[in-house]
């Protein structure tokens, strides 16, 4: 790994290469492509949260002037359960049924049919002409009721996975996950203090500002081109091919710029439908969701019930911890209960613990990944329990966490021993932070909590090309959601020894660059960055060989220094150093254009830990919470572009604060979401927040050439516990459930 002192450009904060187009309105996002002869599509959605679909009749819609195609579930092949799409996305049969309902509508807003017409107005009228016969069934909306033995079943074929024996009766429990170690009973017996609680959090949405959008065109040979906003166009291509039963080679996916995803754009919703409509119509078809559709039919993350019991000795050492998790999957399986189970105790060194998690079907939208999927819900409960222990022991909450903190060599609750990690470094940084040393303002409360995410590696490809003038093109396949082109340019410039401005990074389509798994899992700068570095090393090896050929020396006698080939020390060659530009200019004489490439399955993603704390004030008249200050401290391994690392920390903090204080899916008794718009689904606005102070801790990940861990997801985890603990500190009442919206706070104040 490169030593920090040697770095020239990694760690600086230049302007991103795609920046100018994004501040001038030139950048093309999902809904910004219009094609000649294009039709507009609309999707018919179930008005019932739970219903059997007995008949869908498209004939009256198809007979309308200006309607060119209509499809329903019957037009899509049935997929066998258990097929997994590449690396991401879960069970394809479930994704396919979510894209278009077949026998059953499983939530209010579930897609039932779709049309393509000459205008949006005609398409809307055509939806009204589609006849659907529903047999309305009672909706299952509460996760605990859904788990009851006599609950109405969403899926008669749902037999709980993960049990030691497959159950003989179906249920709404799709899966069970369990982790255990040590002797729980002895652990609790050794405790001086035991705390216990049940914590509920409703569903929340990723809340990206750009609704899902795509345009598809299928030609007479059956070749489809799909332009869409996605976190991963390669995985979208794979999913679409499977869902439609067509060949991957018949699909070309082009990723537009993407207006936020946070996990919600890792699975297909519109793309297979647009391709199917275009194929039937013989014309391009554009599908764009409304905001209401985004809320009702995409995302969200699981609502949850988490029970936690933790015991500790007087000195703060945790002796035992037990947790029980129930996560809503929505109408189809796929809840992140596995990571919820694996993350809840991850920051701590525990000898005795048991955690069981259940994934439960309910008549709500099928959940999608949301930033550190599953971790915020479970870790909120643990971080609140620790706060209660710290209070009972009259111990500083940071000291309590330090007393139990995982470190290099600690056996993680999910199995392996941790390689070098930065959790203790984050706690130490918090203890010294001026915001922590400052007095809590009069009338306010302070809360502390930890965050964690595994981070992932997986498959990526990159190609580096040297232009005739020595400028550098990096081609990779990860949609840039938060400045990743800039970090690729920085790593390439660092590796090649050239200025940042000499490098440009492009996100290729599925036919112009090699496979890259989704931009998600905090993997892009880590895994695709590693591929870019390897491809640059390939370039350097090639350049050294060409310099050797030019000078008539052995290639071992050439070194690469500051972007130029130079003779190795002691080599007796009276030659001028050759820059990338020199080598590019003479490329035709030394073997043709200079290309470098790399593909890999990046292993060794480094776990990322954080400590956040905040001072909050509660208005006891209105129940409104004011965030006075917020501090996020996180181990990034190495910050390639520190301003965008800070941005991830600040953005995650804001999302977590929103989740803790206001955001929630509110349902009526029929399973209809009552707040499917930004007015009533209340995300933080600028006047809700203070500046968000950040401190980047750098404990390098030994598996990455520059020490990168991945930073994107951990930031959303801690804020839930931070807010809960700060409100507790401010009003002296523990509120177990989120969000701590004004009505809930007023109710707690009234009850006290």
């Amino acid at each position: 790994m490169a030593e920090a002192v040697d770095l020239r450009v990694v760690g600086t904060t230049p302007v991103r290469p795609d920046g100018v187009d994004k501040v001038t309105g030139r950048a093309q996002f999902g809904a910004d492509l219009n094609m000649p002869n294009m039709l507009h599509g609309r999707i018919l959605r179930s008005p019932h949260a739970h219903a059997r679909i007995k008949r869908v009749d498209l004939s009256k819609a198809l007979a309308m002037q200006g309607v060119y195609a209509a499809v329903s579930g019957a037009d899509f092949p049935m997929l066998a359960s258990g097929e997994v799409s590449g690396e991401a996305g879960g069970d394809l049969a479930d994704i396919a049924r979510n894209v278009m309902a077949r026998d059953k509508a499983l939530y209010h807003g579930h897609a039932v049919a779709a049309v393509a017409a000459t205008s949006l107005e005609v398409a809307e009228q055509a939806l009204d002409a589609i006849e659907v016969d529903y047999e309305v069934l009672p909706p299952v909306l509460d996760v605990l009721e859904a788990m009851a033995a006599d609950a109405t079943l969403l899926d008669e074929q749902c037999f709980t996975k993960g049990l030691s024996e497959t159950p003989d009766k179906p249920s709404n429990i799709a899966a069970m996950v369990k982790l255990a170690r040590g002797d729980l009973e002895a652990g609790f017996a050794a405790a001086d203090v035991v705390v216990e609680g049940e914590y509920r959090i409703p569903m929340a949405h990723q809340g990206y500002i750009e609704p899902h959008a795509c345009t598809a065109t299928v030609n007479e040979e059956g070749k489809a081109t799909v332009w869409c906003c996605t976190q991963g166009h390669f995985d979208f291509r794979t999913m679409t091919a499977h869902i439609l039963g067509c060949k991957i080679a018949d699909l070309k996916f082009i990723a537009s710029e993407i207006g936020g995803g946070f996990g919600g754009k890792t699975v297909v919703y519109l793309e297979p439908v647009a391709v199917m409509l275009s194929k039937k119509a013989g014309r391009p078809v554009k599908l764009v969701m409304t905001r209401e559709e985004v809320f009702r039919a995409t995302g969200p993350t699981s609502g949850s019930v988490v029970r936690v019991k933790v015991g500790a000795r007087k000195d703060g050492r945790i002796t035992a911890a037990k947790a029980w998790l129930a996560y809503e999957a929505g109408g189809l399986a796929g809840a992140p209960v596995g990571p919820g189970v694996m993350s809840i105790f991850a920051p701590y060194d525990l000898d005795n613990f048991l955690v069981e998690g259940y994934e439960v079907l309910v008549n709500k939208p099928k959940v999608a990944a949301y930033r550190a999927p599953g971790a915020p819900q479970s870790m909120h409960a643990m971080e609140v329990a620790l706060d209660d222990i710290a209070r009972q022991l009259d111990m500083d909450p940071l000291d309590l966490r330090l007393r139990n903190a995982a470190d290099e060599g600690t056996q993680a609750p999910y199995g392996p021993k941790f390689p070098p990690i930065g959790f203790k470094a984050c706690i130490e940084a918090a203890k010294k932070h001026p915001n922590y040393l400052a007095q809590v303002p009069e009338g306010a409360g302070r809360g502390v909590a930890a965050g964690f995410w595994f981070n992932i590696g997986m498959q990526s490809s990159a190609e580096v090309r040297i232009n005739e003038d020595g400028s550098v093109v990096v081609m990779e396949g990860n949609p840039d959601i938060g400045g990743s082109r800039a970090s690729m340019c920085l790593m390439a410039a660092e590796t090649l020894g050239v200025p940042y401005e000499q490098v440009k990074t492009y996100v290729g389509d599925t036919e112009s660059t090699g496979y890259c798994m989704v931009t998600g899992g905090s993997r892009t700068t880590f895994a695709t960055g590693m591929a870019v570095v390897r491809a640059c090393e390939d370039i350097i090896a090639e350049c050294k060989a060409r310099a050797a050929a030019t000078w008539g020396v052995d290639k071992d006698q050439v070194e690469w220094q500051d972007g130029t080939a130079v003779p190795a020390p002691g080599v007796n060659a009276d030659v001028n150093p050759l820059s990338l530009a020199d080598l590019a200019a003479s490329a035709s004489a030394t073997g043709g254009p200079i290309l470098g490439k790399a593909s890999l399955n990046a292993q060794g993603a480094g776990a990322s830990f954080s400590i956040n704390f905040a001072d909050l004030k509660v208005d006891k008249e209105t129940g409104a919470v004011e965030v006075l200050s917020y501090t996020a401290i996180q181990d990034a391994g190495k910050a390639i572009h520190p301003a965008y690392v800070e941005g991830q920390m600040q953005g995650g903090a804001a999302q977590g604060i929103g989740w803790a204080l206001n955001e929630e899916y509110i349902y009526d008794q029929d399973g209809v979401m009552e707040n499917a718009g930004f007015l009533d689904y209340r995300m933080p606005v600028a006047s809700d927040l203070p500046m968000i102070d950040t401190e980047i801790v750098e404990v390098p990940n030994p598996s990455h050439p520059y020490g990168v861990r991945g930073v994107g997801e951990t930031p959303i985890v801690a804020p839930l516990g931070v807010a809960a603990n700060a409100v507790r500190d401010a009003i002296g009442i523990r509120i177990n459930d989120l969000p701590m919206s004004p009505p809930r706070i007023l109710a707690a104040l009234d009850a006290a």
Binding site: T13, V15, R16, D18, G19, V20, K22, V23, T24, G25, R26, A27, Q28, F29, A31, D32, N34, Q206, G207, Y208, I209, E210, P211, E257, I258, G259, G260, G261, F262, T290, R291, I481, G482, G483, H641, A643, Y644, E646, G647, Q648, Q650, G651, G652, A653, A654, Q655, G677, F678, L679, M683, P684, V685, A686, S687, D688, L689, M691, I692
Partner: protein
């Protein structure tokens, strides 16, 4: 359905177009006039991604009928940069990394310019309340507010 003929000025250009009576200004900008820099995030006036200026006033173009543009002067994101290059706000957004995905950025820049046109020296609270009509889900607003503060400082220095 008979269409309405509209004559208006957009970013200093005289523009004529036809629209159906219920068409929003946002739809006219994007679907009729090809001005795709103005974004749709919600269609209900809650997110500010479609923010434009109408005779110096900030409006959500999704809440305005296209026919209402008759005889007015509109400024969209495409009209913010001048012949000399980027507007100070655009430069400061880049320098401060005040955008991540960038979908809300056009709306924020138009809204921030309207603020600085009217109040060249806003404090942090004034910036936060002025921009409260624009949703950003990526940045937590910190770097956006700093970019606007820095732009105000530079504009004051130039003046």
């Amino acid at each position: 359905m008979s269409k309405v003929h509209v004559q208006t000025t957009i970013n200093g250009d005289q523009v004529e177009f036809l629209c159906v009576p219920q068409q929003t200004m946002l739809e006219a900008l994007r679907d009729v006039l090809g001005k795709l820099g103005t974004k749709e995030g919600c269609g209900t006036g809650d997110c500010g991604a479609c923010t434009i200026m109408l005779d110096g006033r900030l409006v959500c173009s999704c809440l305005m009928l296209a026919a209402e543009a008759e005889g007015q002067e509109l400024t969209t994101i495409e009209g913010i940069a001048g012949p000399d290059g980027l507007h100070v706000l655009q430069r400061k957004f880049l320098e401060h990394a005040a955008l991540q995905c960038g979908i809300c950025t056009p709306g924020f820049i138009v809204a921030a310019k309207a603020l600085l046109d009217r109040n060249p020296n806003p404090d942090e609270g004034a910036i936060r309340y002025w921009l409260a009509g624009n949703l950003c889900r990526c940045t937590g607003y910190d770097k956006i507010v700093r970019a606007v503060q820095d732009a105000a400082k530079e504009l004051a220095y130039q003046a």
